[in-house]
């Protein structure tokens, strides 16, 4: 396929060239964002490549095409390395997803790479991509369709009903399905299973027992694959994952038909959408957990599971990358750490880097049994064999945290924690009547801030009351924080963000721990980020909306929010910069200008009509 045909095939309206020959120069591109290409050249190829043959882009995807006359005439490693260089430059230049393509101009052979990390070698080559596709096709490959997510949500709803009619307790459902999913992904056989004799005991095993045992042995195998995991940790995890769930009476009494039916449903309706090789899969998987947990959450209205898109936004706001060492000290079902892992992976370019990330860069702590099981499963499904999630109270893990040399904390602490979940040093100061955390979760943040290095950034979700701060303890912690750290930004977030879970209204605060607020002496960024373009759907929670072409409205909104924050732009109705102290309210609402140019006669007319309709309704009194 010649150059011209390739451009036409992918879509000339996405084609970007910035030299006379239409080639794309990374020297110029990087210079335009204030970076020097030399910092990104490794010097391990004889030639330092700068000009990419053909580049396509839109606001979220870049396609890089390098043409070669005939692959057989080149050394494979060499041209792959060349493309890898371009991928590295692209990562430095934009934060878009990348599809990297090597194409023959004299022949028709095409090699394609995309997805997490984009490692250009034989192992990571997409073997089923053998032709050039359109830009839109590649977009779908990389992002998945919003409709797919809604399909998964629908499937989860049906699955929930199935489990309900099979008599599986609500509390078990999420963990049980997670366990099944993990087993199915790792080659569980469940069809045509017949009763056998247990080789260990000689007793006969019914087919349902055989399936359950198969699941158990897969889990055990997964956990032992990772080398340096301590036996104790493994035993603990197994007991949470296996025995608490699989040995529960509700599961043990399921018939073979019921188990087979559930597994078949998961296998055909959920597994196909979950592919941890590309990022779309990550999104879907996380969605699965948050959606499923909605049903569990009903029994505990205080649990505020962070929606995945907000995790994504926060992770991107603090700029998680391959050098990040991320901690969520109250990780719940693991939404933040899974999202952070995805973002770190996206920035990697070699398998060794990816391994290192999994082993040494993502950490979670969870106190509550059920949530701990979920986060472990969640991480395992995402290929984290080591699973640096520990079950403990964060307040007992000061040393563990200090050892990890964390540089980013993402967290959503409990807002109304009872005494036993709080810092024991802090609860000592409570009077005897106090039952719930009067700091509204703030003391978790302050404690973490004291136990991570000063190079660290913290992005935390807290209830609005914590930002308004008119009660004694919240005020105290606001002061404590600013006496030591800088308040970088606060985002007001959608009112019903946790629907149908907790009804709390949350905001996201970002702290920079390097110096105290007064000394930093800078304006804090306040975002009024209330409209995330999600809508409530009965029984499904909040779902993403699309435009007519099926593009997600959220992705555009997220890009806009990130742009406002990173470039500190003030837009009436969206953002404002303001110098604040601990005495002030930390919310955009308090400082934002109302844009009076948007006031119209219609506003007055509506007021009058409302008033008159009331007059008529009340009989004109």
């Amino acid at each position: 396929m010649n150059r011209f045909d390739i451009i036409r095939r992918i879509g000339s309206r996405y084609h970007i060239g910035n030299t006379e020959t239409g080639e794309f120069s990374y020297v110029k591109a990087l210079a335009s964002v204030g970076k020097d290409i030399k910092d990104y050249q490794k010097g391990d190829t004889q030639k330092n490549h700068q000009f990419l043959d053909i580049r396509f882009e839109n606001d979220r995807l870049a396609i890089l095409v390098e043409c070669k006359n005939k692959f057989s005439k080149w050394k494979k490693e060499k041209i792959q390395k060349q493309l890898q260089d371009y991928v590295r430059y692209e990562k430095a230049y934009s934060d878009k997803k990348i599809v990297a393509i090597l194409a023959e101009t004299d022949g028709d052979d095409v090699w394609v790479w995309y997805g997490q990390s984009v490692i250009v070698d034989d192992e990571h080559k997409k073997s089923d991509e053998s032709i050039i596709k359109t830009f839109e096709d590649y977009e779908n490959l990389c992002f998945g369709k919003v409709n797919d997510k809604i399909k998964v949500v629908d499937s989860i709803k049906i699955l929930n009903e199935k489990l309900h009619s099979d008599g599986v307790n609500e509390k078990l459902r999420s963990q049980f399905v997670g366990t099944c999913l993990l087993a199915l992904k790792n080659g569980l056989t469940y069809k045509n299973v017949s009763a056998t004799i247990d080789p260990n005991t000689g007793n006969s095993l019914s087919p349902e027992k055989v399936v359950i045992n198969n699941i158990k042995s897969i889990l055990s195998g997964l956990l032992s694959k990772s080398g340096d995991i301590t036996d104790l940790n493994k035993a603990g995890k197994l007991s949470v994952l296996n025995n608490k769930v699989l040995d529960d009476q509700d599961i043990a009494t399921l018939t073979y038909e019921e188990i087979k039916d559930i597994l078949e449903f998961i296998d055909s309706n959920i597994v196909p959408y979950i592919n941890d090789k590309n990022t779309a899969g990550q999104d879907l998987l996380n969605l699965f957990f948050t959606t499923f947990n909605k049903y569990v959450g009903k029994s505990d209205k205080n649990q505020a599971f962070t929606p995945d898109h907000i995790c994504d936004f926060m992770s991107k706001a603090v700029g998680v990358n391959k050098n990040s060492r991320v901690l969520d000290p109250c990780c719940g079902s693991g939404a933040f750490i899974v999202r952070a892992m995805t973002d770190v992976m996206d920035d990697c370019e070699a398998e060794a880097e990816r391994d290192n990330v999994k082993k040494n860069q993502i950490f979670g702590i969870e106190y509550e049994n059920g949530a701990f099981g979920l986060s472990s499963t969640n991480m395992l499904i995402h290929g984290d064999g080591n699973s640096n999630v520990v079950q403990a109270s964060m307040f007992d893990r000061a040393e563990w945290i200090q050892d990890k040399n964390i540089n980013i904390v993402l967290m959503n602490p409990p807002y109304n924690a009872t005494k036993k979940f709080c810092d024991p040093h802090y609860t000592k100061t409570w009077d005897s009547k106090k039952k719930e955390d009067p700091s509204k979760g703030f003391h978790f943040v302050e404690w973490v801030a004291r136990h991570v290095p000063s190079t660290c950034k913290i992005a935390v979700l807290l209830p609005m009351q914590a930002a308004i701060g008119n009660t004694g303890d919240v005020k105290k912690f606001k002061k404590k924080m600013l006496d030591n750290y800088t308040l970088d930004a606060v985002f007001s977030l959608p009112n019903e963000m946790f629907y149908p879970g907790a009804s709390a209204i949350a905001c996201c605060m970002i702290f920079d721990l390097s110096q105290k607020h007064e000394r930093a002496n800078r304006d804090t960024f306040f975002g009024y980020f209330k409209d995330d373009k999600f809508i409530k759907r009965k029984g499904l929670g909040r779902v993403e909306q699309t435009d007519q072409d099926g593009n997600s409205l959220w992705l555009k909104t997220e890009a806009e929010w990130l742009d406002l924050y990173k470039n500190k732009r003030e837009v009436p109705g969206l953002s404002v910069m303001k110098k604040v102290t601990w005495k002030d309210e930390w919310l955009a609402e308090a400082y934002m200008e109302t844009d009076y140019t948007k006031l119209t006669v219609d506003d007055f007319e509506r007021t009058i009509r409302d008033y008159y309709s009331y007059l008529i309704k009340s009989g004109g009194k």
Binding site: M464, N495, I505, R537, Y611
Partner: protein, 382 residues
């Protein structure tokens, strides 16, 4: 167009005396006439009418602390502690100025407040709003005593009065001004209007109308890129219309003039005459006339249907789905022929040959307040 570029900031505490309402427990009162204002954002903030003596005089502005939802109150009232009451300090408040300021506060404050961030008295005092300021020969008039603003600007109340008068009285596409809508030639003096129930007989709803289920379209399945039809659900507000949606292939909208009936849910029995073609959500019934009926007759029937539902049917219990096409009845006055009832051989409306006295019904409704306004609202058939 509205040019606000010369408007000036005024602090609400400078303009108003601001105080909070007084909460009353539900066992302190019964149903009555006094408006009890809460932080509700509907019905002019009136949560319900109670039988306590009004504690606050009317002609003032109230805001609810949850969303700073603002209303102008003309009646004397009671108010919960979730309400802030604004009484003018140095100027005369009237309906026009009250509604103008109401519109401005709603415009500039509503989005800043919510359940997690409530607007209490202290917060209200800090609010600044922009108002037109008094000018002379293109110069602001500065009040040396600085009564209304710390810079000495004076709100231009004359402009406000004139502006709101224009909005109220302007002729609109609907052929009359908003102000006109308040006028009715029917007085509500005689409430009995001579209803004699003796001659009323039971009629099956399915004999009076062609009854059927609505489209049953799930809200999830609706989109609104190029909206064409109303989407009617089981709501008691806004004529049951909850959305404006795209055409859906394979679904026929019901024509204007058709009546919708909420078969279940909290607003069971809500029955409306639809003015535009529409689709319906689940559990919405459809009533279509057998022969042309006037809007007066239909309104009469919707009232009786609601009345019937109050006692015999129960939301989330005995819902209408299985009844409205089978055994749901309402009593209607029947047509008389001298002392005997007029017998309908076709038995169109009743197996006993009764006929509703449509003429009487129409005349009855026409005499009610605001019924004269219905003349302009003849339902269009499409």
């Amino acid at each position: 167009m509205l040019n606000t570029s010369k408007w000036k900031n005024f602090n609400l505490e400078k303009l108003f005396e601001i105080s909070a309402g007084i909460y009353h427990y539900s066992d302190e009162y019964d149903i009555g006439d006094t408006p009890y204002i809460s932080a509700s954002n509907e019905n002019n903030g009136i949560q319900q009418r109670i039988n306590l003596e009004p504690e606050f005089a009317g002609n003032c502005i109230v805001t609810g602390k949850v969303g700073c939802t603002t209303f102008y109150q003309s009646e004397d009232f009671c108010a919960t502690s979730d309400v802030n009451i604004f009484r003018p300090k140095n100027f005369e408040l009237n309906r026009k100025i009250g509604l103008f300021i109401t519109a401005i506060i709603n415009f500039s404050e509503n989005y800043k407040w919510n359940y997690g961030r409530q607007c209490r008295v202290g917060d209200s005092k800090k609010i600044n709003i922009k108002l037109p300021a008094k000018m002379l020969n293109n110069e602001y008039i500065i009040d040396p005593e600085k009564i209304f603003s710390s810079e000495g600007y004076i709100p231009d109340f004359d402009f406000i009065n004139e502006f709101m008068g224009n909005v109220e009285n302007a002729e609109r596409e609907s052929k009359s001004s908003i102000r006109d809508s308040l006028k009715t030639i029917n007085t509500s003096g005689d409430k009995s209007l001579g209803i004699i129930m003796e001659n009323w007989k039971d009629f099956y709803l399915h004999k009076l109308f062609k009854t059927r289920m609505g489209n049953g379209i799930d809200a999830v399945a609706t989109t609104n890129y190029n909206p064409k039809y109303n989407y009617v659900s089981r709501d008691s507000n806004g004529n049951g219309v909850v959305g404006f949606v795209d055409e859906i292939e394979g679904e026929d909208p019901f024509p204007a003039g058709t009546m919708s009936l909420a078969l279940g849910g909290s607003f069971l029995g809500s029955c409306f005459i639809q003015k535009e073609p529409f689709y319906t959500a689940q559990n919405v019934g459809i009533l279509q006339e057998k022969e042309p009926l006037s809007i007066y007759s239909k309104l009469f029937i919707t009232t009786l249907i609601r009345n019937e539902c109050k006692v015999k049917y129960q939301a989330f219990g005995r819902e209408l789905n299985s009844h409205f096409r089978k055994d749901f009845t309402i009593k209607l006055p029947i047509k008389m022929d001298g002392l005997k009832f007029a017998y309908d051989e076709n038995k169109t409306y009743s197996d006993d040959g009764y006929m509703p006295d449509w003429e009487w019904i129409e005349n009855y409704v026409k005499k009610l307040p605001y019924a004269d306004k219905l003349l302009n609202l003849t339902v269009l058939k499409r």
